[in-house]
Symmetry: C2
């Protein structure tokens, strides 16, 4: 159970030891979206072997980035959750989403896709300054299961959470179009006209999105 170590006294080396192991960053991505069970993780990581997943989980437990938790009966089950130290990595993860978004336009056929991952995309471009205090319940239909979210403005910035309630707006689009809308690269009217986007319900909400999302200037 000894893991690799760079013999350097530098925080980047420490970080690289943690997130540099194969699959680890994706485990953190999953848990950033909420607590998960072993089998959930395994499915969402596109077939990582159970032995490798076990090794990674144990490594993360050891390093204190995640915790193991026994749910009470009757839901008796084990779930993993990010610890404070693991949560502290979420801003970095969102930075990686913004960086990795440049590859979004060249998808690879046959790749596994979970609509849930789009929540990270939304979070990555959420404004962090105060935003208008409105809440929108939006149902996002991409290829795959629908993703019902609640997008809310507030003094602390924009928040994005899962929300099973009734949706005010339902949009159907490709993931890349959603990211385009959120980063401002695509204007809603364009997308509607071009057939890239279909919307049902309070369509005017689309025009409000720029208030809530931003290119989120990663200065230097």
């Amino acid at each position: 159970m000894k893991s690799f170590r760079y013999p350097q006294s530098c925080p980047v080396a420490r970080a690289a030891e943690v997130i540099g192991e194969r699959w680890t960053l994706l485990i953190i991505r999953e848990l950033a979206l909420g607590p998960q069970r072993f089998s959930d993780l395994r499915e969402r990581l596109s077939g990582v072997s159970s032995s490798v997943l076990t090794a990674r989980i144990n490594g993360l437990l050891e390093k204190g980035l995640i915790t193991r938790e026994q749910l009470d009966p009757p839901a008796a089950s084990t779930v993993y959750r990010l610890s404070d130290s693991g949560q502290a990595l979420v801003p970095v993860l969102l930075g990686l989403v913004r960086w990795g978004a440049r590859y979004f336009s060249s998808p690879h056929p046959g790749d596994h896709f979970e609509p849930d991952w789009l929540r990270l995309g939304l979070l990555a471009y959420s404004r962090r300054e105060a935003t208008p205090a409105h809440t929108y319940a939006i149902r996002i239909q991409t290829p795959g299961k629908p993703l019902p979210v609640r997008v809310a403005g507030g003094r602390g910035g924009t928040t994005v959470t899962l929300d099973d309630g009734p949706a005010e707006l339902t949009i159907t689009l490709e993931p890349s179009v959603l990211m385009g809308l959120v980063t401002g690269a695509i204007h809603p009217s364009e997308a509607l006209a071009g057939g890239k986007l279909s919307a049902e319900g309070r369509v005017e909400i689309l025009e409000k999105l720029p208030e809530l999302f931003d290119l989120n200037a990663d200065s230097t």
Copy 2:
């Protein structure tokens, strides 16, 4: 020359493919501090083998994160430099510095240490909002070679650059103490009194540091 690929359509997976390879993140760290030659890199990466370094460099060239450049004679030499795409990773790198800083307090004896790396520490906590427009030339003495920097405030925030000119202030301290000063965890007077820090020159500059540096709230 085929590299690993996660079969997932997610920006995090793309990012993990790049920075998840061993040594890669450290190569980016080095080039974030300035262009370097092959041999420089090799020395600063604590003995990575030349074959592995070659493989990583080629991978990064292929993915467009770095460029190769022939310097004009008489300095005839090859250097590597971050491309725009590589530069775009610097904010993430600084996020990792802030995250990895939690391990700074438990150093490992015998580890390689380059004072130059402290520049990343300073950058990681530099304020990004406008700061008072003063410039300080500080010579930082840690175990190893001195690090002469120019720390400057301005409308665009704080900048930190190398500066070989005459220093207004010379401080001698351990890396962890420097980070403590910059994050506000340690107050200069404390450090001076405790013998953790010795200063020569315009000592009052120490009191100005909080204007320039910050814990740089990584909210969520």
